[in-house]
């Protein structure tokens, strides 16, 4: 059955109304949101590159479950250890992925998990050391099938 003009307008109106609701929350974290999320953790402190190793596949077929390992070069003694590891993304609806709190009792500064990636994007891991310096590693990941925002059946 061909769509009449009236039906088309009523559907279009419905979509616009739904669209207004959706835009209340931006669908993708822009790099600006990424920066804000990082600054919320780091404050004004400088972030240096190094010490942190971010293991994530460069090409991912399914963004719904992406293995991620972050390790930090640290002796993990009582005076020199990693306090926390923070992982961020650039283009998911929300820039945070996870915060992991460690201590000298950890022995080794390494954390693994599985994450979701909604798009081809940058993943950033930042470590806070016991002397309150911040170190980062950045990885680019190409995602073929996106996660997070697909429709339910």
């Amino acid at each position: 059955m061909p769509t009449t003009r009236r039906q088309f307008l009523s559907i279009a109106g419905g979509i616009t109304a739904a669209g207004t609701l959706v835009t209340l929350r931006p669908l993708e974290a822009t790099p600006a949101m990424l920066n804000t999320a990082i600054r919320n953790v780091v404050g004004e402190a400088p972030i240096r590159t190094g010490k942190v190793k971010l293991d994530i596949p460069p090409l991912v077929e399914n963004g719904n479950t992406v293995p991620l390992t972050v390790s930090v070069a640290s002796p993990m003694t009582t005076d020199d250890y990693v306090k926390s590891i923070h992982v961020f993304n650039e283009k998911n609806p929300q820039p945070n992925i996870g915060n992991f709190h460690l201590g000298p009792a950890s022995g080794r500064a390494q954390v693994s998990t599985r994450i979701r990636l909604a798009d081809t994007q940058k993943v950033v891991a930042i470590a806070r050391l016991s002397d309150d310096t911040f170190w980062q590693a950045v990885a680019d990941v190409v995602v073929t099938l996106a996660a997070c925002t697909e429709e339910l059946n």
């Binding site: 993304n89 992925i97 390494q110 925002t149």
Partner: protein, 105 residues
């Protein structure tokens, strides 16, 4: 129990041991829509804690970007025999615990 815990049963004092945990949870992001356009409400685990004989050795804040059935692996130093306690806390009052024992020689 909806959680899988992997802790070595025995270790030498001072050894660095790996702990792996997997718990069953949908981790609904709160960003998905049904075909009808309704937003599916967020339902995730927001916090995970591991305590070793009562002392916290690892804690994680989780976000919707963590995949369903959250898997976490981390390390700790085997200091003394005892118990590891794991706790997951999430949206809608979700709470789950598990524990594992270790013998340190």
């Amino acid at each position: 129990m909806a959680a899988l815990i992997n802790v070595p049963a025995r270790a030498k004092r001072g050894d660095i041991i790996e702990i792996r945990t997997l718990t069953s949870h949908i981790m609904e992001t709160g960003f998905r829509h049904t075909v009808a356009g309704a937003l599916v409400p967020r339902d995730i685990i927001t916090s995970f804690t591991c305590r070793y004989n009562g002392a916290e050795v690892f804690r994680a804040d989780l976000f919707p970007a963590i995949a369903a059935n959250p898997y976490l692996s981390f390390f700790t130093v085997a200091k003394e025999s005892g118990k590891f306690e794991f706790e997951w806390i999430g949206d809608n009052g979700f709470s789950s615990t598990a524990s594992a024992s270790i013998t340190v020689e």
